[in-house]
């Protein structure tokens, strides 16, 4: 009963390094999302995908790239990490239609950029 799984859970990066966060869901959901959570700012949408092979920008896309090569996976990349990208990152997914209104979240990935 995995749901939405994110790896890694914790990571420390040096400024300028690159990394990829992996999100995998086993619910056959069409829509997937990457959010970042910062104190006092709630959740902000970075990028999202409405299906395999498609991606779109959210509220705060700068400095991030994404890919959805397989339906079950949604990757978030940081090409050149900056301290401003220190945050908690959440992946989420949902299905389509009336039953697909509820978003399901992963457990989060804590990223620190020093």
């Amino acid at each position: 009963n995995a749901g939405v799984t994110q790896t890694p859970k914790f990571r420390v990066l040096k400024t300028g390094q690159s990394m990829t966060l992996l999100c995998a869901q086993d619910m056959n959901h069409e829509y997937m999302y990457w959010y970042r959570q910062d104190p006092g700012m709630g959740l902000r949408l970075i990028h999202y995908s409405v299906g395999e092979g498609t991606t779109a920008k959210g509220e705060v896309p700068d400095g991030y790239n994404v890919s959805r090569l397989k339906k079950q996976n949604f990757l978030l990349g940081l090409e050149s990490a900056a301290p401003s990208q220190t945050s908690v990152y959440f992946c989420a997914s949902r299905s389509t239609g009336d039953t697909g209104n509820t978003i399901y979240f992963g457990e989060g990935s804590w990223l620190t950029v020093v």
């Binding site: 939405v4 829509y31 999302y33 959010y35 006092g40 700012m41 709630g42 959740l43 949408l45 999202y48 409405v50 779109a56 959210g58 959440f90 989420a92 009336d98 209104n101 509820t102 978003i103 399901y104 979240f105 992963g106 457990e107 989060g108």
Partner: protein, 116 residues
């Protein structure tokens, strides 16, 4: 601009007392409304949602929420708080219709502290 407001950063309540966590929204059309709870170092867990129908919806862990269209509010309530309810609560709105149906708008969160 479409938005969700949680006017209280923190709510303190004594164990056994009723609790209310407030949420108001500003979106066009008839939105879908959600409450999520986040425990420390965990992801967000779905509590309940309002799509249509009865204005009072019941969810997990004894929580309920009341949709008030005229006041554009969706307050979270529980008749008797437990210490284990202490967590961060997020209200979210999915604006109805297209475009933008893919995007959910989250409030900034309210920290609930239940005191023993």
């Amino acid at each position: 601009a479409q938005s969700v407001a949680q006017p209280e950063d923190q709510v303190n309540v004594a164990e056994g007392n009723p609790l209310t966590v407030k949420c108001t929204y500003s979106v066009s059309g008839n939105p879908y409304l959600f409450w999520y709870v986040q425990y420390p170092n965990r992801g967000l867990q779905f509590l309940l949602k309002y799509i249509t129908g009865d204005n009072l919806v019941k969810g997990s862990y004894g929580f309920e929420a009341e949709f008030n269209k005229s006041q554009t509010s969706f307050h979270l309530k529980k008749p008797s708080a437990l210490v284990s309810d202490s967590a961060l609560y997020f209200c979210a709105v999915r604006p109805a219709g297209a475009p933008g149906t893919y995007k959910y708008i989250f409030g900034t969160g309210t920290r609930l502290k239940v005191l023993a």
